[in-house]
Subunit: 203 residues, 2 copies
Amino acid sequence: MATATVLKKGRKFDQVLEGARTVFMRDGFEGASVDDITREAGVSKATLYSYFPDKRLLFLEVARAECARQADAAIQTIDMTAAPREALTAAARRITSFITSDFGQRVYRICVAECDRFPDVGRAFYQSGPLVVRQRLADYLTAATARGQLAVDDIPLAADQFAELCKANLQARTLFGATPCAPAEVERTIVGAVDMFLARYAV
Amino acid sequence: MATATVLKKGRKFDQVLEGARTVFMRDGFEGASVDDITREAGVSKATLYSYFPDKRLLFLEVARAECARQADAAIQTIDMTAAPREALTAAARRITSFITSDFGQRVYRICVAECDRFPDVGRAFYQSGPLVVRQRLADYLTAATARGQLAVDDIPLAADQFAELCKANLQARTLFGATPCAPAEVERTIVGAVDMFLARYAV
DNA sequence: CCGCCGCTGAACTGAACGGTCTATGTTTAG
DNA sequence: CTAAACATAGACCGTTCAGTTCAGCGGCGG
């Protein structure tokens, strides 16, 4: 990759990136100081600045890597041939577990906070997260509809609706720290999402 | 109110709060400088610090006021006696218009970003926003179910589901600035939400 | 007319932070 | 073995910013 070649110059490159990841994820962009990052990475400031021209670019690189990681996690495909209830339940479980995970929450929080300052980060997150999920779901819905297992007229809308149903209450709760989400509640949300979706789109 | 009495001392109090509101909403907590706020409020720094011991407390006060304002807006009640389709459509229109509004988006963004540093802000937002909507919806669903117009078993879940369906794609899109949301799309989301909800819970 | 009180505006402090510079290893080529 | 080239640590610099201080101003009650 051209950009990576431009950046990567020494053996401590990954160390810097890893330290930056830790600190940025913990403290956000403004909250993280470059000194913290060097300490965390076990690297000197000059070393850091030899790899990245400034803090902003370092953050963008970390964000890009996180988005890619998220895309990888999301791409674990839905079983395209499974019956609707099974396929949707499995998908819902994946989505809810990401949303309630510490990692998912931190990424979301930072992207929401910083995509004002860094529009690229917001777009990258959206495209490598929600959009991937939406596309996967849409693919499945298309296949299932073709097979006559579902009757979906507006596929993109249905995909969005299902993804959103999986979040019901869970995302807000974890994000604003009102009360922790019990596993039973997650399960209830999943079943509720699948039931509602099938009530609307089953043949 | 006891706390207000402790704080309020002079005629420029509201001026300070208003200026702080403007700047915090525009720039967030870290992004806002106290000097900016005094300039915006047309007030000296000493005056500001005579009302609020520090920036953090000032922010909390602004956030509390914003949450209250949001609660007021949300409280405009659903017509409890209307038929499901009309009542739900009206509710959906209120919810979507708040979500896609500049104001709603800013409040949400700031709360998500800062509720790590200020857990109180997160909780206040949740309780005076999503929770109020949820309660209103639950009240309506209870009434409509009693009237035999709907058949909802798990009322809190159904309320969350409906609120969430209204966000489908709209919130993520506006938040991450991928592409603006056309009014037609909002309408499509509203109709989709109501259709799906009724498919699941109509008698 | 006096004294009080809220307010002003500007100067100041101390700390934090992004970014740079220099002195000191460390590696590699000849 | 030596010297050039590069990597590194961390002191250092300039700036920004929260919060303080203080001398003075204007209006209002007594």
